[in-house]
Symmetry: C2
């Protein structure tokens, strides 16, 4: 019965369609949304696949929190206000318990990010989630990767490398002689499973920044995207990287590798023009200048960013 598929969606995902911008939520052929006056629509889609982007047997709640944060951080990087999202879930079997846990993660994100869920598609197949996020910006105010200029400072919104360390812990890939206190382990794994899309920076970015990107492939790789798009170079100072206390306990080789080349933090890398006073939470890690490419005093051993089709 086709009805069962719809029932599953409505029961678990149809609750989250509220918000003044939502004229019509889940349950029709499409949702209907209202944009603020004089604004443009920003849209981005991201897929997470089991075994590629998250380990098998990941708690369903965390599948949701990672997938939604990965997509929503693109809105933050475009300096867009949240409007709504749709979510396409592919699941091997209908599973009420799985969906219940998943929907808890969705609900937390909907509230934390003010991003109502207005469309759901549930299909049978290998586990994957595709989240499409929509946001709005005042016309002409979308923040592009191409706006960085020589003299701009490269800044990041929070500590880096935590998610990569968390993933190494989850996967049991750390050298055997490393002991990690339980509270650090919990912190690092939470940074992987429950990243924070930095929507709170949107007003500041719109007023002050030249360019931004969310760090999904690692600071080096994503800074290169800004530098290439902007036609300039960037030098990163590895000693300036903000590291969490939990990450600081690790050997230099591990922690700097993770902070430079580990992806999945979903923090923002921002090009801030000279003269703008940096808020204390925003940490400068480099500077843009004439030329091309990204230079760094430290060369990580880890591969540069996560490549789904890499070696």
């Amino acid at each position: 019965m086709a009805g069962r598929e719809f029932e599953l969606i409505y029961r678990h995902l149809g609750l989250f369609g509220a918000g003044s911008q939502v004229s019509l939520g889940v349950g029709d052929d499409g949702a209907v949304l209202t944009l603020p006056p004089n604004s443009e629509l920003v849209v981005s889609s991201d897929s997470l696949v089991e075994g590629t982007h998250f380990p098998e047997l990941t708690l369903p709640e965390y599948v949701a929190t990672r997938a939604i944060a990965a997509a929503a951080s693109d809105l933050a990087a475009m300096a867009a206000d949240p409007l709504a999202m749709t979510l396409a879930l592919t699941l091997p079997e209908p599973d009420e318990l799985w969906l219940h846990s998943f929907s808890q993660g969705v609900e937390r994100c909907v509230e934390a990010l003010a991003l109502p869920l207005v469309g759901g598609d549930l299909t049978r197949g290998p586990l994957s989630v595709t989240v499409t996020v929509m946001g709005s910006v005042p016309t002409g105010c979308a923040m592009k990767r191409s706006g960085a200029e020589p003299g701009d400072r490269l800044c990041v919104t929070h500590t880096l490398g935590d998610a990569a360390a968390g993933l190494a812990l989850i996967m049991g890939q750390l050298p055997r002689d490393i002991e990690v206190p339980l509270e650090d382990e919990e912190f690092l794994e939470a940074r992987f499973y429950q990243p924070t899309a930095r929507m709170e920076w949107v007003p500041w970015l719109r007023e002050h920044a030249h360019a931004a990107i969310d760090i999904s492939d690692g600071l080096l790789a994503d800074t290169e995207h800004i530098a290439d798009a902007s036609g300039c170079a960037c030098t990163i100072d590895s000693t300036a990287l903000p590291l969490s206390p939990a990450l600081s306990r690790f050997d230099q080789a591990l922690k700097v590798d993770w902070a430079l080349a580990g992806g999945d933090d979903y923090e923002l890398a921002v090009a801030v023009p000279p003269g703008v006073v940096l808020p204390p939470e925003l940490r400068q890690v480099g500077e843009f200048h004439e030329g091309s490419g990204v230079q760094c005093d430290y060369r990580p051993n880890a591969r540069k960013g996560f490549d789904h089709f890499g070696a």
Copy 2:
């Protein structure tokens, strides 16, 4: 190298970002789109999974044409003008030939539907495609499932059952004694592989119709969605179903089953109020009245619509 993933996307899917409504296409954290004045945004996401929604070894071009038509027909059913789409593709291995064929299908749909592709995500995993379509309607004019009223006629935009027959041919599921001429086979398979999203009906729907849905689960199942949402009943006349010449050759039991219960045609079922003159292409197949549920003089043997989580 993360760059390779991006190169694959840009080379094959980054070409389709044109259109006056596209302020910024593929290549940044998100696309930026402009809606017409005094309009609302309509959005819908659909996933197709290999083995669930299309047979293994389907020509990649047809994976694209089916996935995009399935999503775009939701815009038609909402009476929305096309704005843009994003496409998230999960592929087991990077494969230039596969992507080349797939992108040909994408390009054909972009042109035929005036639906520029403004965002792409390419990940490694079991083959699936999620298409998110965006459209616009004048504020308050979105066509809902809930608008049908007693006295409305149930009409469809084209012949029904062709796609289900095409799938049976593709899967070799027909009784051995049935011979199908090559030209009929090609026609029916094309109706499955290359369905047409009925965007051309949008202006007429907006002016005349009460409710609409795209027929993905079969006429009976999808009419039930309209009837339930509208709080009325509908009676379908199986002798009025429009059948293509190719389908008409089949036995009564097969062809009426397919037309009533086979999904995948992506034609529109429309509730048209009394007094509206029906264009000749629009075929009346039933009538709405007081009550609940869908009645039909013929009870199909096939299961009612395609259910991804059914038995």
